[in-house]
Amino acid sequence: MLRCIYRNHILIGLPWLFIFLGFLYIYRGPSISPLYGSDTNIIETKSEPLNGPLNKGVCSDNGSWRVGDLKMQTGRTDVNSVTNWNAPLVWEGTFDPVVIDAIYKKMDPRVAVVLFAVGKYTRFLKGFLESAEKYFLVGFRVTYYIFTDNKGDVPTIKLGKGRKISVVTIPSVNRWQEVVLGRMKWATITIDKQIRNEADYLYMMDIDSVFHNDFGAESLSPLSAVLHRGYYKNTRRDQFPYERRPKSMAYIPTDEGDYYYTAAVWGGYLEDMYRLVKYCYTQSEEDAKNDIEAVWQEESHLNKYLLYNKPTKVLSPEYLWSDYDKIPADIKVVRISQLVKNYEEVRPNGGH
């Protein structure tokens, strides 16, 4: 009789003990650190992401970075490394990729790349994607949004961890100029409906290019623009190929202008890019109503926007070169380059 009582007591007591221990574990267990961290975390701030703008942040344990003694008097002297509104001009030699990657990886942003591969341009997909996997924001979460009229032409590529492809089907067009203007329209619609929920940064890139060297987190900023390789040296502002007809919405007078930017690579915060893409779209539509097409289509509208809405980072022509052009001495590294192509072969209306 005594034995039974003891066994019963244990059988009753044990589950209550487990419940009690279980509750203890649940409440003491994983602690979610609030935005500014609990008091114990303040001591070692490097383990915390900063609640601040995304273009500066916390450096993780800096073990590998011992780049000699940092002096304030070394660096590229053959080129300018800041614009006159104090935004950095990014050249090889002006930044340390290890430090910058550490800062941005801590925030782990999601990056979207918008690519248009319409008609025969799908042949460039393989080269672009394979080289991007080797050189473009390696180690970051990247989604390639491929806009195409032929889903079947999208090749299967081996992608790194955290990277994926998303195909968006759009209708075919007859003129290459329409393809170019269609970019803005489809990009606006898709960013609004889909991409803004899936990305923090957005890049617009031309598909007919290949990466040759690291194109990394140094390019990230609220609004990054790339200098056009043809006009960065000694071109006077009245020689920039801005739209010069006052009838167009992209008109820029000859005594204004900082730089001439290319529309083949641009990027930034999602909302800032959305604003810019939408601007290019609505301005081109407005021009079309007035029976005029800007001299370089969305590139003209882009340049007008960037004149009055200054980019927060300007990337050197290293960030978009062309296989057609010889490489001058101040371009130490070509990170991405446009391919030589037979226009008659690839454009829907052949050549011009």
Partner: protein, 383 residues
């Protein structure tokens, strides 16, 4: 009896399973929430802080075409390895920057500490600030002092009168506020210098050691900012009172987190920087670490950024104090550790905090803000 045991053991097993299920469900939910929060927080941050970095320039502004291949300054580095601009004379166009920032309708807050005999520097500080510090912007200067009656009546260069109103203290704790306003009158012969410069005086207790005054700065800065938050897009600069302005200090200095390189060390290798070198301190920086040596006498940025800086440095300082250790240069050491981990988004050259007793170096084309020559024995409570 056997029957009873079976039922009881069955219930026991069920209860244990129930607990385990509850635990795993709750922990999955919390970790899932963490992910959602992290991602939402990231997206929300991108949208919320976008405005500071939207740099809108007016149409038809005339200025010289900027060059890409010709650096305006080739004798100095104009950008850090993490691509923060280093601001030197010649690297920026002041007219362009002012035209970008003025329409944003921001207020620049400045804090100065004039405790004990340091009150004697306040007059020249305020007079020169009126001439050079963010001219054309709204500026609020908070003066922390234990001698509010000695806050000088400042006569403006153009002979304008100063209106001072003194309110009775509303609450009887250590921080009592007297509101003093400077209202520049319209002046016909000279252009109006300040749109609106307001002086706010705050009472602080007298300290016996100068190191204590130094230590309390972070706490008081944190409190001033907390009064202004939340959702405030203004900027704050924390400046030393024993200095004067000699040149423009304006919108080129605005950024998320802004630090000034110390004039005494910007040419030296990092091994010579006077970082705190004892591992037991929370301001410790190991040999081989550190970008620049930054001043504790001038730093600033967006309110939220400086708030985080002040809160962290204060906490670390107090934690050190509890263990009986005081960093080599008090809060300046803690600031340097903070800036090593949390890279500043803009670095100001030593033009932004020079020292009068130093001869001018060739790369310093203009001195904007400089510490005056002083006799420490005369002014420090404990020398």
């Amino acid at each position: 009896m056997i029957h009873l045991i079976n039922v009881k053991s069955l219930t026991a097993v069920l209860v244990i399973l129930g607990v385990l299920f509850l635990y795993s469900f709750l922990s999955y939910r919390t970790s899932h929430q963490q992910n959602i929060t992290a991602e939402n927080r990231l997206s929300a941050d991108v949208v919320a802080v976008g405005n500071e970095f939207h740099l809108v320039a007016p149409e038809h502004l005339q200025y010289e075409q900027p060059s890409i291949v010709q650096g305006s300054r080739i004798d100095v580095v104009a950008v850090t390895p993490w691509l923060a601009p280093i601001v030197w004379e010649g690297t920026f166009n002041p007219v362009l920057l002012d035209s970008i920032y003025k329409p944003k309708n921001i207020t620049i807050i400045a804090t100065v500490f004039a405790v004990g005999k340091y009150i004697m520097f306040l007059k020249r500080f305020l007079e020169t600030a009126e001439q050079h510090f963010f001219v054309g912007f709204k500026v609020h200067i908070y003066v922390f002092t234990d001698r509010p009656n000695e806050v000088p009546p400042v006569t403006m260069a153009s002979g304008r009168r100063v209106n001072r109103t003194r309110k009775q203290p509303k609450r009887s704790n250590t921080l009592t506020e007297f509101a003093t306003g400077l209202f520049p009158e319209a002046n016909s012969d000279k252009k109006r210098l300040h749109f609106f410069l307001q002086l706010i005086v705050r009472l602080v207790p007298t300290a016996k050691r100068w190191q204590e005054i130094s230590a309390r700065r972070m706490e008081l800065i944190q409190m001033v900012i907390e009064e202004q938050l939340p959702n405030n897009r203004n900027y704050i600069f924390c400046l030393d009172v024993d200095s004067q302005f000699h040149g423009r200090w304006g919108s080129e200095s605005l950024g998320g987190l802004v630090a000034v390189t110390h004039p005494g060390y910007y040419r030296d290798p990092r091994s010579k920087f006077p970082y705190e070198r004892r591992p037991s301190s929370r301001a410790y920086l190991a040999p081989g670490e550190g970008d620049f040596y930054y001043c504790g006498g001038a730093f600033g940025g967006l309110l939220q950024e400086v708030h985080h800086l002040a809160k962290t440095c204060r906490h670390n300082f107090e934690a050190d104090a509890q263990e009986g250790i005081e960093a080599a240069w008090q809060e300046e050491s803690h600031l340097n550790r903070y800036m090593w981990i949390n890279k500043p988004s803009k670095v100001l050259s030593p033009e932004y905090l020079w020292q009068d007793f130093k001869p001018r170096n060739p790369e310093v084309h203009i001195v904007r803000f400089s510490g005056v020559v002083k006799n420490y024995a005369d002014i420090r409570p404990n020398a």
